[in-house]
């Protein structure tokens, strides 16, 4: 029993050190075990010190560019290829026929209102605000990077219901929205409930390079960029959803790709203004 307790404490200390705590913090949290813990954590420290190295920035950058270039290619090729392959399969025709029949019977009554997104109108006192921000990756290469968003949508969790709205501010310069900066592009009332996705339709991207002043080609994995994040909209608070976009160089060919960044996106809630 004692050994299991100790294993658990040692494990927790290792987790804490991995998260950035130091050995002393952990020892002071478990004074009864500190004598036994100290040499073990010292060994951990020795091993980490011996094998930890910072990979070369150039190698890492080249690997990242290769990864994003492959990712970009998949974004263009996969839907077309998979659709083509699917059409060739006879079994798919049977499934489509059944599906069409079912839709024909049920569609007019039920499906149609569900598949068609509800379009929302802006309101300054609404319970929902949508913001755009930029996670700095290769944005430093740009003098300006204007992104035009034609529509924004939210997907309700656990249903097919979608809400869409047109941004009040459609074109944004991402070079001005780096890191913690963000810009609100729409505010209005959204049906309270849980949502599982936010997506934006990008109709135009124009990037101007700092180094040459040239307009550069910025690709999109698709015209619809989406993020899968569970968030809630309520009536008694304003939910501000920040959609983070980042631009990444795809190789040494001077091309860039624009993609959503889930890590820095998300919703937060604030008390609603009164009156």
């Amino acid at each position: 029993m004692m050994t299991e307790d100790f294993d658990r404490i040692l494990d927790e200390c290792i987790d804490r050190i991995n998260r950035g705590d130091n050995v002393a913090d952990c020892l002071s949290a478990y004074p009864a075990y500190s004598e036994r813990l100290r040499p073990l954590l010292q060994s951990m420290h020795d091993i980490q010190k011996t094998y930890t190295f910072a990979p070369s920035a150039d190698t890492k950058r080249a690997a990242r560019q290769k990864f994003h270039a492959t990712l970009g290619k998949r974004g263009r090729m996969t839907p077309v290829l998979s659709l083509f392959r699917a059409i060739l399969r006879p079994a798919v025709w049977g499934t489509i026929a059944v599906l069409v029949l079912v839709l024909a019977i049920v569609g007019a009554l039920v499906i149609e209102p569900v598949f068609t997104p509800t379009t929302l109108v802006p309101s300054p006192d609404g319970n929902f605000a949508f913001l755009i921000s930029d996670e700095p990756n290769d944005i430093g290469d740009f003098e300006s990077l204007n992104v035009t968003i034609s529509r924004v949508g939210l997907q309700a969790a656990g249903s097919l219901k979608r809400l869409e709205f047109r941004p009040e501010t459609a074109t944004l310069d991402l070079t001005r929205l780096q890191g913690e900066r963000s810009q609100e592009i729409w505010r209005g009332n959204v049906t309270p409930g849980q949502y599982s996705q936010a997506y934006i339709y990008v109709s135009d991207v124009t990037g101007k390079l700092k180094s040459t002043g040239q307009i550069v080609d910025v690709k999109l994995p698709s015209s619809k960029l989406h993020l899968s994040l569970l968030f809630e909209v309520t009536t008694d608070a304003v939910t501000s959803f920040t959609f983070d976009i980042t631009v990444v160089a795809t190789g040494n060919n001077g091309k860039y790709i624009l993609k959503p960044q889930v890590g820095d996106s998300g919703a937060r809630q604030e008390q609603r203004r009164l009156g």
Binding site: T3, E4, F6, D7, R8, L10, D11, I14, D15, N18, R38, P39, L40, Q42, S43, M44, D46, I47, Q48, K49, T50, Y51, T52, F53, A54, P55, S56, T59, K60, A62, A63, R64, K66, F67, H68, T70, L71, R74, G75, T78, A157, G158, S159, S196, P221, H226, L227, S228, K259, P260, Q261, V262, G263
Partner: protein
């Protein structure tokens, strides 16, 4: 039937997006994980890059059956490392005779680092294969015991026990005071 509680199955696009997000956090950790096994930094960095490309190509076969994506990346790293070592016809752990650390430090510091590297590596060689994996994944990969258990097919309790036994063994070999 409660549709609200049904588990969301991510699409390939969502997996791609998650993989891209893991890149920054895990590239370095995977490079270090590989480095412990092969003892060559440049090759370790190349393999780390290869891990993400391989993951991208194999995303269709990835399903989260108890193993999170970062754990899956280390599994790919392990397999690529094994392939590499087979190709190089080397043994499991770092070939210390061939490893010489080169730095910008003065020669005395570099020599001390080399001695320390040999001391730790020699101790690591005394561990079992599974113990080495646990130490490597926990200390250099930064994974939790549960995640390590998912990769090795062990319970997190078994991983914790193996971890303690491995560190005690290392301490016994390396000594504490230097």
């Amino acid at each position: 039937m409660n549709i609200g509680n049904r588990k969301h199955i991510p699409t390939i696009n969502e997996y791609e997006s998650r993989l891209a997000d893991l890149y920054e956090e895990y590239y370095d950790k995977i490079a270090r994980y590989v480095y412990v096994h092969i003892g060559n930094k440049e090759e370790a960095e190349d393999i780390a890059g290869e891990v993400f490309l391989k993951a991208l190509k194999s995303l269709k076969s990835y399903r989260e059956q108890g193993i999170p994506m970062q754990g899956w990346l280390f599994r790919i790293a392990h397999n690529l490392t094994v392939d590499y070592l087979r190709k190089m016809d080397k043994r499991r752990t770092v070939p210390i005779d061939s490893v010489v650390l080169v730095g910008n430090d003065n020669p005395v510091d570099t020599a001390e680092k080399n001695i320390e590297f040999e001391r730790v590596t020699e101790a690591m060689k005394q561990l079992t294969t599974e113990q080495t994996e646990v130490i490597n994944l926990r200390f250099l990969g930064g994974l939790t015991s549960k995640e390590v258990g998912g990769i090795l097919g062990k319970s997190d309790g078994a991983v914790r026990e193996m971890q303690r036994a491995a560190i005690e063994k290392l301490r016994g070999i390396m000594g504490v005071e230097k």
